[in-house]
């Protein structure tokens, strides 16, 4: 795992290189038009939004078209929740809202007024990982890791809901989380172990 500095510098590099690439191909007219779009966007009505994310209360302001996923990533800089398909088909964006797992890409942020959101960043207790996080590491429940935050958030609820009584039941109730690396057998092992461990999640 890279440390935070390396991570930030990689992210900065990507941002800068994207901006440079954009400058080389975008004509001044288009650049001007883009600025104009920004101005128009800022004129859209912003709605006040109060919600709690990982135990911290936030008082925010959002356009109605902003999804909960984009709010978490772009306004609150919680990058753990991933944007996979952005259409509710892959589960990478799974978070808990008032304790229930949902696809944050299909939830308008403004519709979450007063709700309690938990993301992958809110699962561990300080330095102590959540039992599901431990189990995913132990069983190697991932390869590239992109789907993993969504898998883990979904898995926690799968057990809590009482839908982890057999490997087949786990497969059915985890079907909303796609792993293109194909780590499914290990993911199921991890979930079954947590279920059998009987810890309170």
């Amino acid at each position: 795992m890279p440390n935070q500095d390396q991570y930030n510098s990689r992210r900065d590099f990507l941002k800068k290189s994207t901006a440079l690439a954009a400058l080389t191909v975008v004509s001044p007219v288009l650049a001007k038009a883009a600025e104009h779009d920004e101005e128009i966007a800022s004129m859209f009505e912003q709605f006040p939004l109060k919600l709690e994310v990982n135990g911290t209360a936030h008082s925010l302001s959002v356009e109605p078209r902003v999804t909960l996923l984009d709010l978490l990533r772009e306004q609150l800089h919680l990058m753990g929740t991933k944007k996979g398909c952005d259409h509710g088909q892959c589960g990478a964006c799974t978070v808990h809202v008032n304790g229930k797992r949902i696809n944050s890409c299909l939830s308008l942020a403004v519709m979450n007024e007063g709700k309690k959101i938990t993301t992958i960043e809110g699962l561990a207790n300080g330095d102590k990982l959540h039992p599901m996080q431990e189990a995913f590491i132990k069983h190697d429940g991932f390869q590239c890791g992109y789907c993993t935050p969504g898998q883990i958030m979904s898995a926690v609820c799968c057990v809590k809901e009482g839908h982890a009584n057999s490997a087949d039941e786990v497969r059915e109730y985890m079907s909303g989380n796609i792993c293109r690396c194909g780590a499914y057998p290990n993911i199921i092992d991890a979930i079954m172990e947590v279920k059998k461990g009987g810890q309170s999640l």
Partner: protein, 326 residues
Amino acid sequence: MINFDYQRIATAKAAVDAKAKSASAQFIAGGTNLVDLMKRGVTAPEKLIDINGLPLKQITADAKGVMIGALALNSEVAENVVIKAKYPLLSLALNAGASAQLRNMATVGGNMMQRTRCSYFYDTTMPCNKREPHTGCAARQGQNRMHAVFGTSTECIAVHPSDMCVALAALDATVHLISAKGNWQMLFTDFHRLPGETPQFDTNLQKGELITGVHIPANTFNKFHYLKIRDRSSYAFALVSVAVALELSGNTIQKARLAMGGVAHKPWRLTAVEKFLAGKPATPETFTAAASMAMEGAAGFGHNNFKIKMGKAAVNEALQQAVQKI
């Protein structure tokens, strides 16, 4: 996504009033289909009216049946003890649909209002009479593997994608509605419509009407099955699905209800088959005859011709599975 105005509403009356004031306003509940359609530019309402504050989440049962509020979540209905005990067909159908995450967001009313998943409806570069009337239907000559074999028109061959609605059609449910004129009801089987010359309308819901709930009458069925055949074993739309409810005494079928999904623009109730089955012994011969009858009049468009054979096998299998269940 094109931006839009947003309004939270606390009463059903305020909701229908707010909708009447805007030409393209839409209600939003779970948003699992609407937000997706807006992201893809298939629809662009100027205003969303958030109805989640309305008191329509209750599931209440009595001797006459069960009333399910329009805002009850798909997951809550599927897990409800009364539904599981007395209307297990609905629970089975709900759990066969979507994913655990989506069922935690999607509501009963929203499930009824979901649009077709026809790929040409979703692809804004292609003609589609449902998305844009009078532009033509790309599916008739195109990739129509997922499309309808019953009740199609020259304008549209799309299917309704819901599993829940197939079970509700079989269970003789009634839709409860409110409009500025007051409360009223319609049969669930009259709620969705065939495409005809106006495929842009999925349902018979009129402008300014809001679904408040669905009522399922108490019944005497003791055997149920929901069979869903799809490209993968979970989290996919049906190629063909069959909902069966039977009242079986000894080996005689007293009463039957059947509906199919994935074959038409609406949940496809098999009333002729139901009449045929009443009073018949629950034997393989009966089921084979019923299955043939079920697919009479079906017509494919090339890629979906397999649904006719598959539909026959699915009806037969669903009847057998229902009878074998304890």
